[in-house]
């Protein structure tokens, strides 16, 4: 189970990394007469018998009701590894749309793969930042104790009860309405790191505080190690906790990013994230007539499920709860 989930995650990362070669079309290009076009089906057989995989050209037969039919006159064979794309078809036969098209006739498959870059990127970067901050502050608090410890943990308690989603919205509003995806990316990753570190810090502090009483820590101090050096000696004890926390933070931040983009305060416009893409599906009519617009939600579900499986069910439920209660004692 865990192996399969891990493989799935690697596959998603690879997809995101190789987006320009995997996708058949640009994510930003609107195709004429392809608004809400359904996903294309791959065929290997027709009346004449078996063939190499091919598709049929899509034809719009009713513009206002958006009815498409497959044009069975000619087979359109799939071309592999040509024009720098993994799979493509003759441009004369129209765009290749694996997952259908959105309201503007853009390739949803390409948008999904490019969206993975933003969604996964922000989550991984935010989680790394939170881990770094949490390990550092929690380590210092646990290793030194006393007033510094109280101060850091009080700040952590404060941050924990902040209405984070609201604050992200207010902060987003301080920037002009249209800002570049790169700016949204860094803004969001920074905010996530700043919002998520307290949980990490609490766990690390609890672990480091118990390690501090061990003989090897006393030995290090007796040998004249400074406070900083002692912390670097103690921190490896929290490695297992940090690893699990990292795997658990990513789905949480993935969901946070999607929610913020979904309500219109994150990635949107030409290259949105998964949450931004879901904004298009939200209208009930779109959901009914173009259910493929819900594919980003499916992707979100699969990635979160895979990450939770990798972390282990017991860890994903117990770790944070147990450690935070332990940290309070």
């Amino acid at each position: 189970m865990r192996g399969a989930a891990g493989g799935l995650l690697v596959a998603f990362l690879l997809l995101a990394a190789t987006a320009p070669w995997i996708t058949s079309n640009s994510p930003e290009r609107p195709f004429d007469d392809r608004a809400f076009a359904p996903p294309m089906r791959v065929h290997v057989r027709d009346a004449e018998g078996w063939h190499a995989p091919f598709v049929y050209r899509q034809q719009l037969v009713h513009r206002t009701r958006r009815i498409y039919v497959e044009d069975h006159v000619a087979r359109v064979p799939l071309r592999w590894l040509s024009t720098g794309r993994l799979v493509s078809i003759d441009p004369a036969a129209g765009p290749l749309l694996w997952c259908g098209a959105d309201a503007l006739g853009r390739d949803l498959c390409a948008r999904l793969v490019y969206g993975a870059r933003l969604s996964l990127g922000v989550a991984v970067l935010g989680a790394s930042g939170a881990l770094l901050l949490g390990a550092l502050l929690g380590g210092v608090a646990g290793a030194t104790g006393g007033r510094l410890d109280t101060l850091i943990m009080t700040v952590a308690d404060f941050v924990l009860v902040l209405p984070v989603v609201y604050l992200v919205m207010v902060l987003r509003a301080t920037r002009p309405l249209v800002i570049s995806p790169a700016e949204v990316f860094w803004l969001m990753a920074t905010l996530f790191a700043l919002a998520a570190w307290p949980d990490v810090a609490r766990g690390v502090r609890a672990i480091v505080a118990t390690e501090r009483t061990r003989d090897y820590a006393a030995a290090a101090r007796a040998l004249g190690a400074g406070p900083w050096r002692v912390i670097t000696q103690l921190l490896p004890a929290a490695y297992g906790f940090l690893r699990i926390e990292f795997v658990l933070l990513i789905p949480a931040l993935l969901v946070a990013e999607s929610t913020i983009s979904f309500v219109g305060f994150g990635f949107e416009g030409a290259t949105p994230s998964w949450g931004g893409l879901l904004k298009d599906s939200e209208a009930l009519t779109a959901m009914y007539s173009a259910p493929w617009l819900l594919l980003p939600a499916a992707a979100l579900f699969v990635v979160v499920l895979a990450l939770q499986t990798v972390a282990g069910s017991r860890a994903s439920l117990g770790a944070s709860v147990v450690d935070t209660t332990a940290a309070r004692r």
Binding site: D157, A173, V304, L317
Partner: protein, 306 residues
């Protein structure tokens, strides 16, 4: 309640109040820094300059920012949240009304999660290994990976294609299911684990040896023991309900605090933004205090140590 506990409670309440006040002030400052103000929409609609000037004066926008901030903070200390420019109503009334809606949704979701999650968790924990327990656990693990955003879209899709559920605005079923089901799965998994641990404990073995009937063993003895770890998670759950309700409110047009906040930010209604953050902070702080209180009630060790 002894003196030490009382002092502890008072200290927590004061800390929470300070936090809420400072976060609201920060929200006010940030929202003021944002481009545009309450009259931007009027300017774009071509309202004449004199009306706009009057509105700016009424809202105090003609004064320098430090003065505005001082006024805001002073009002806040007297628990006066001011007037919403876009709704022409007192912010306090608006926030209370919408906050009540969000609270209603969150409470329904929490109730649903508790009523569904805890009993199922006892079943899967006590009868682990049977096919019923395996099936329920699998479903639960899948639902656990459905954040409210995914859950609400899936439910809306089911409702739109089958017509089983009403999707009318104001109908509580879809939003509370979307918000409550992931929480129900969390509680189910925790309760299951806790019940398994309890069933394996020596005192349960002793109770079984004394001839206590199996049903009583599971639903009274094991359930009571497993209460503690599960109650501990309620504080975290309240926080997640609060942030998850944003997506649900947006997708189902639920007239809650999240939607109000969205509108407030979009209209740069600064007083309303600060008011929403104030209400959100209060909700979270109360949730945390209640959760800690619950934990203290069920776990004497925490009581002794705080």
């Amino acid at each position: 309640m002894n003196h030490a506990t009382a002092a502890q409670v008072i200290r927590r309440v004061v800390a929470a109040l300070v936090l809420v006040l400072s976060v609201s002030t920060a929200a006010f400052t940030l929202a003021r820094l944002a481009p545009g103000d309450e009259t931007t929409a009027d300017v774009m609609e071509g309202v004449d300059a004199e009306t706009i000037a009057r509105k700016r004066e009424r809202l105090g926008l003609d004064r320098p920012f430090p003065v505005q901030l001082a006024h805001f903070t002073w009002d806040l200390l007297r628990l006066d949240l001011g007037e919403s420019a876009s709704y022409d109503r007192p912010v306090a009334a608006l926030v209370a009304e919408r906050g009540a809606n969000t609270a209603r949704l969150a409470f329904a979701a929490l109730l649903l999660a508790t009523l569904v999650g805890l009993p199922l968790g006892v079943v899967t924990g006590a009868y682990a290994g049977t096919w019923v327990a395996r099936l329920l656990s699998t479903v639960s693990i899948a639902v656990l990976a459905c954040p409210p955003l995914v859950a609400v879209l899936a439910l809306l899709y089911i409702a739109a294609t089958t017509g089983w559920m009403s999707v009318a605005t104001g109908d509580l079923l879809v939003p509370s299911l979307a918000l409550g089901l992931p929480v129900a799965a969390t509680l189910e998994r925790l309760q299951s684990q806790a019940t398994q641990d309890a069933m394996a404990s020596p005192d349960l073995l002793a109770a079984a040896a004394r001839g206590i009937p199996p049903l009583r063993l599971v639903w009274v003895h094991a359930a009571r023991q497993s209460l503690r770890p599960v109650l501990g998670v309620y504080g975290i759950v309240i926080g997640s309900l609060f942030s998850g309700s944003m997506a649900v409110e947006f997708a189902t047009s639920w007239p809650g605090l999240g939607r109000l906040m969205l509108d407030a930010v979009q209209f740069s209604d600064v007083r309303l933004v600060a008011g929403c953050v104030f209400a959100g902070g209060i909700c979270l702080a109360v949730g945390n205090l209640v959760a800690d209180g619950l934990r203290t009630l069920v776990d004497p060790r925490v009581r002794d140590l705080v």
